[in-house]
Symmetry: C2
Subunit: 237 residues, 2 copies
DNA sequence: TAGTGGTCTAGACCACGTC
DNA sequence: ACGTGGTCTAGACCACTAC
């Protein structure tokens, strides 16, 4: 570790993280055990402490290490299992699968937000949002049914947009950057409307994605997306 | 930034990230637009370039910025939507909800891995794994049905463990650290066995979690977890 | 080929929380 | 109280790639 091959650039912090990970996986450093402090590792690896710090923070983010001031760094006893999902843009996903994307707007109108939804996103009952329902297709096969409420106050010019010619999701992504997003997965049996719009039997198990975005003035949009049967959401990597 | 208030420690990198985020959300810096380079921002914010770099990397990880050498940093056109889920340890989750955790092992025996599963995790067809099926309860209500295959070669001493008295998940977490994990969500209608074990009607939509862990020698364990109806997996935060 | 981000270093100060 | 991690700085060299 005294030098780096030219042309073989592997950030030193990642090399260190890899070596520490190897020692943990190889049981060289046992769960709950304290590992050498940053200064010691810096000497061992011939690196600056900042570099070691970066490496160990990586592993702490992965959940493999628990770090506390004064108490030192310990191998996590119950490694947190974190999973990162990239929420796909439906059009890109369909096109990447070699299919032709299209979408159809079922309805677009101003309408009072239903009480349960209003409560969930923290707006007064009876507030009018833009209610949009649309189906996304790949080669004429229905992929997703989207039921969306958009806060008209969150984005100027929203009333003038006609989402029949403009994917709501993409328009919002481009025109209403958000500060915070909530996402939740669940499973539901297809109700009559889901079944009709996705061309599937009623009762079919569907993966449901609920997603709400916020900026500093309040909620921007909340959406329930019903995915076609067989849809799998998997970790990126 | 000549001084920092004592007791009011907000890492400078995060302050910078917050300000840049504000400018993006406030449309001050438009999507696709190039923002000042690190050196300029360092001067503006009175910080070292490394600090600005850290802040901008944070935002790039969030998907808000696209960074390229020589080309500079631009506001992302299609902000990637990433979601981080913490896969809960079922016992902790149940106990946190104030219920009493228990679990029952339905079966534990060596058995050849079914072909589709073997193919999915990349082991030769017919290999014998330990096949474990268990139900997790909270206050006698069934929460999850777990159908797991464990590679006996991956962990020494595995054959001697009796999972009737030892939660398999937790034992593995503590005794078989992994290098890589795949996780996938989907939805399935409850089959007869799911229905019987979870005490629900057949056909009920269930959130299904597939999870496989690996170390450098191959797969450690793969599991299908069927969650009780109404289970919601949501982002941490 | 030159501008920009990626990364490292050596040193420093500080906050936190265990001892 | 003091050891440990958290963070910042100023400077440096390098890799990538748009120009």
């Amino acid at each position: 570790m005294t030098d780096r091959q030219p042309g073989l650039t592997s950030p030193k912090a990642q090399l260190i993280a890899g070596e520490v990970r190897r020692r943990i996986v190889g049981r060289e450093w046992q769960q709950g055990e304290r590992i050498p402090d940053e200064a010691e590792l810096a000497v061992e690896f011939g690196a600056a402490r900042a570099t070691v710090n970066k490496a160990l923070q990586l592993l702490a983010d992965e959940g493999l290490l628990d770090r506390k001031r004064r108490a030192g760094t310990r191998v996590a006893v119950n490694p947190a299992r974190k999973a990162v999902f990239t929420i796909p843009i439906i059009r890109e996903q369909i096109e990447r699968a070699g299919m032709e994307y299209s979408h159809r707007v079922i309805a677009q109108r101003r309408s009072p937000v239903p009480d349960p939804t209003a409560a969930r996103i923290g707006v007064p009952a009876g507030r009018e949002f833009i209610h949009l329902r649309a189906v996304h297709y790949g080669d004429d096969r229905a992929f997703q049914f989207e039921d969306r409420w958009i806060n008209p106050d969150s984005v100027p010019g929203l009333d003038k947009v006609d989402f029949r010619h403009q994917n709501a999701n993409e328009w919002l992504v481009r025109n209403a950057p958000y500060l915070r997003a909530d996402i939740a997965f669940s499973a539901e049996n297809a109700d009559a409307r889901d079944a009709r719009l996705l061309h599937i039997p009623k009762g079919q198990a569907l993966l449901i994605l609920h997603r709400t975005t916020w900026n500093d003035t309040g909620p921007i949009t909340t959406v329930r997306i019903a995915c076609h049967p067989g849809y799998v959401m998997s970790t990126t990597n």
